[in-house]
Symmetry: C2
Subunit: 349 residues, 2 copies
Amino acid sequence: MSGYNVAVVGATGAVGTRMIQMLEQSILPIASIKLLASKRSAGKVLHFKGQEKVVEELVPDSFRGIDLALFSAGGGVSKKFAPEAIKRGAVVVDNTSAFRMDPDVPLVVPEVNEAALSRHHGLIANPNCSTIQMVVALEPLRKVYGLKKVIVTTMQAVSGAGNRAIKELHDETQAVLEGKDYEPQILPVSGDKKHYQIAFNPLAQIDVFEEDGYTHEEWKMIHETKKIMEDEDIQVTATCVRVPVAIAHSESVWFELDQKGATVSKLQELLKKAPGVVVQDDPDNQIYPQAVNAAGKKDTFVGRIRPDQEQADAFHLYCVSDNLLKGAAWNSVQIAERLDALNLLRVPK
Amino acid sequence: MSGYNVAVVGATGAVGTRMIQMLEQSILPIASIKLLASKRSAGKVLHFKGQEKVVEELVPDSFRGIDLALFSAGGGVSKKFAPEAIKRGAVVVDNTSAFRMDPDVPLVVPEVNEAALSRHHGLIANPNCSTIQMVVALEPLRKVYGLKKVIVTTMQAVSGAGNRAIKELHDETQAVLEGKDYEPQILPVSGDKKHYQIAFNPLAQIDVFEEDGYTHEEWKMIHETKKIMEDEDIQVTATCVRVPVAIAHSESVWFELDQKGATVSKLQELLKKAPGVVVQDDPDNQIYPQAVNAAGKKDTFVGRIRPDQEQADAFHLYCVSDNLLKGAAWNSVQIAERLDALNLLRVPK
């Protein structure tokens, strides 16, 4: 049987189930698929291309004979099991933050820095969801005009915090509509001390706070953008807000270009030609990106492109993308497709 | 009977009903209150300090004997009837955009530019909701360090579009939860061509688009901030987004100070002493402003104060306030209180 033996780690999660879908649609030749999860989820039945697949408990030997392992089961699981997978010959595409800032690990958005794939040692990190869609939207502009500074405010969907967060949003919203009490247990951060209402209530916290007052999520956007764009001099700063949305992150991005000469129509033209980007920017007809339209799609939708009226070479854009697809599952599968195309889907000796 | 004869125009609306509440709580001496609305709403019964008040149809002679008229019934109503009120001796506080940028009309947030009240000719404009809370948060910092540039992304509650928008959010959210169809008819802008789902879906449009790709709402924030702060040189740029929230706007504000020397703790100290501001900024204990906590309060809640890590003298803050109270009804009644205190609650000859 020709093709790769593929494992999905965290197969029952919000991202894991989308990884399976993306693999079903992928051009990647797949010989077999193995669905892995914690002991608690083992035994569940999922489907791949119409066939029943029983979820197996993740153990080191799960990776025997596996060529490609997609991880999305939390940083702790990746730290423990990714080395086991690589040791057994699997290339790992890891969707957690465990290895993203490791200088030996490529952090890849194929539209932006596919070349970094050639430097992998068995593991490629998938960036944070909020970072991915922003760099997809900014890279085509950076390539032509350079990028000096980025100030982003995100409005992120709860599915970034997993299936339990989606359920909390739905149940809590229903309770608020009925005037009933609801005790939040997941959002904003399941592992943090306090939990707050997300229904009809934005929460300016995604991931835990660091000592400097930024959240981990905000630092991820800062550090990962520089690493993916391979330019430490780009200034990036971020405010990340969780909003009562199930799927797709919306981002308000202000950016200053390095070089002169850009206009809205020139930026629109660059984005129209850019891979993975769909321009939805027609204010006269009220066309701008929306979460409900982006959910389920692989693209990053970009609109509201307009100049800062008082600062030369500075602009706004607004980008929306499915955080579970381009922000996670699709970007991971896309990395695997590109590894295959570049003959890099093997652990280097 | 001592005190003012007060009229509320648009008394049955989302802001009008709050104006009545704010007048009930006000220190303003009130001799009588007259509730005015369109013919359609005339005859409705509302309450003021426990007494039933029948809503009357707004006509020019409604203002006979009125000392103070609070308008919040749309720009067209203000344009037509505010001059009639002033002609009959009433001072008008107008919560619409009709006269805000008129150079002869003071645009006032008492915490920021109370002195402008002395220049009124019978009409004082109440600024746009999203502008008010931002200038309340920034003014204490501007006074000490000067303000060079502001970049704001708003996450605005639907109640800014009136009671029908609140109902649409609730009904549509219920429909989405039940998997039913719902035809939006109000949001993002009731008078615009297309209407979109707001349930679980941010909409990057508040008010109509201008030819330059900015919305009216975004231009209001830019122009009004400069006018209220009386400084055309402050650079302001904005992206205004409607989010599935009923009450209270949340704003992510990046700002660059004019002078050196500011630190997070200095900014926090200034804000703690500032009128109308409550600092909620304790990341270690997950304390930051939230819409559900701000709703029903008169203050502007400020948190997430932190430096831009790569640009000197630049910072972030996050401010939340009840758009119907400080953003509208309370600011209008507060203007009236200050007019009274300054002996300016009369139409100048």
